[in-house]
Assembly symmetry: C2
Homo-oligomer: 426 residues x 2
Amino acid sequence: MTAADIIRCTYRIESPFEPEKAAALMAANMSAGTFTKVPGETAALKQRFSVRVENVRPLETVTGAPALPFGSRSPTDGTFYRADVTLAVPLDITGTELATVLAVIAGGVTELKELSGVRLLDFELPPAFADAHPGPGFGIEGTRRLIGVYDRPIIASIIKPNVGLTPEQTADIVRALVDAGVDFVKDDEKMTNPPYSTIEKRAAAVMAVINEAAQRAGKKTMYAFNISSDDPDEMVRRHDTVLKAGATCVMVNINHIGYAGVRYLRQRAQLPIHAHRNGWGILTRCPLLGMEFNAYNKIWRLVGVDQLHVNGLRNKYWEADESVVNAIRQCLTPLFRPADRLLPVVGSGMWAGQVPDTYRLTQTTDFMYIAGGGIQGHPGGPAAGVRSLMQAWEAAVMGVPLNDYAADHPELRQALDRFGTQSPGG
Amino acid sequence: MTAADIIRCTYRIESPFEPEKAAALMAANMSAGTFTKVPGETAALKQRFSVRVENVRPLETVTGAPALPFGSRSPTDGTFYRADVTLAVPLDITGTELATVLAVIAGGVTELKELSGVRLLDFELPPAFADAHPGPGFGIEGTRRLIGVYDRPIIASIIKPNVGLTPEQTADIVRALVDAGVDFVKDDEKMTNPPYSTIEKRAAAVMAVINEAAQRAGKKTMYAFNISSDDPDEMVRRHDTVLKAGATCVMVNINHIGYAGVRYLRQRAQLPIHAHRNGWGILTRCPLLGMEFNAYNKIWRLVGVDQLHVNGLRNKYWEADESVVNAIRQCLTPLFRPADRLLPVVGSGMWAGQVPDTYRLTQTTDFMYIAGGGIQGHPGGPAAGVRSLMQAWEAAVMGVPLNDYAADHPELRQALDRFGTQSPGG
């Protein structure tokens, strides 16, 4: 097998068995596997369709409680071995469809009774996947082109409260945000198509505001309508509705639609797809189960989303800053080509305060930077909130401390005074 | 709010905060939520769109390591409180689409930094969901009708080795299984549409055997073709292909297709949907994260699958027997009506040996009972393997110990002698 023929998967595992043995059991599970001799099973067949253990890097040995419940009948003296193991999975087994790839690399192997921990850290894909999947239709460049902002982060906000608002109330908030100069506004993930604010009526009310401002000022705010639906056709219908109203983005709750549904949309979409990853905690929060963002973002890149949530520094969720920084780097690293990079959507309690560290740790301005309260709760109003964020980014890029820059930038000064002691929320 | 207007969700949580406070934080996250006063936010709006804490049942208090990493800046003295909390979520927030319901009940709430554990144990749905979702098109009765087996479990087997076999080799195995009298055969989850065995060619070869036997013997073996695809339209095309070839079932890797993709198939399917849940370990294996099968099976019932994998007693995976028995009971409990019960697919290392306990603990024969090695590795051949399973079920229902029944049932005797000391696998 050459690199062109394999998917190289790395897992972190824990097992009462020594790592070499545990890795071999994983490889066997993921391979052709047989319980009995059957006529068709030849040595050549076995070779071609066998997963190979490429590397085993032992980590710490722990005693006491296993990370996860495992097979109650597995022998153990209370010692559990941890290791990072790399397996080479032949494309002959998986093909290039995710529905099969994931059944092999994130299927039965996650349930093996001989493992008390199994987490997909990352995988490398051969070039065949580049042609087999649509990938992002817009990505970073396409999103920037539609907004017309190139040399700084896209400053974004969100509609809150997130449910109960009529289209007119929503449009009023949008008007304030557009007038304040935000580049991007999004629906909340919980707001899809309720009777009191159908997509049709919300799109009409919101886009009337945005289209009018665009005609007047020459700059069109990108609004991401949450078109998530259980029915892929309905999702496409909602996409077409907001497209017709003049919108330039759609948003989906990717984990609750699933790979096939989002791909269905992608293949028919004429707008960038803003991917909200709510529920991601289920897949990643247990350190010895699920998967790392390194694996996760590649799956969604193949499916073809354009903008992907990554949390932000000192966010309101559980995720640590190092994990957030890694996610940002993942999005910004090409998978097969530069155009398949994803725009990292930084959000959750953001305001000017996190900007210097965000820039220092990533050395880029390729962000969508969502501030809810950081804009709408700014003491000088939303326009001052937007200015405070732009000022913070100017200062960060120039390497000027925020407090210094605030000396002659009053909106930043106000933000530091207000949010420096009390996080703005959402 | 009345019961007709709410989704009642129960979570198991762990938190450095006392349970009442943690539950209130969850409810706030799932509610309308606002970071700042906005014009549209009134008291009435808040009331109508607020999640209410219905019940908090404290469990043990633990010290030391939290179950999951949580917000590093959350205050803790090393004490973590566990509790089961029930929240009432107004339908006004969610509507009946899963894409929205799950964003609320399994979205951001799973990532709250104030929780070091959060697991969706179960939820109760109001009647509005019965009309809003297709539900199973065949279920237990429909599956039995197509096979013509009513008063005992459906005896099933699987094609292994699972990859590399040509359509002709696959058909040879199917012929042996059909001749042996199995009721049902399935593709492996890793076998979809590879170049060496496309759905077209596999369906043609396999159904030639099955159709011929059906004409000859009057009984048609159900074969579940794995039509999983990233592209919902392609999945429907594969469904139509196998339907045209005379097949009576399709199979999908539900976790890797996702809710919307499977629903798309369901709405166009004329065959029962055999739901393979590989990857389910990721969602459930960490005791304080993800979800219980109680919640999971309800989601897929709404989507409309018919047969759902539940593992089996003393299976080759990590799952404990009590969990398996609970899953079986869940499938067999009506959600809105008896016809929406799911056929539990028992498998993974099954043979005659687990039958008495399976019957004793569930008191039902409404099963698909998959034996791979238990049939194909039987020392008397597959026909003897099938007979040994039927004999085991006869004995179990009559309350006769297997060893006694084996006295004048030689195939059962052989199974006990062979597999009593060495599990048959798969």
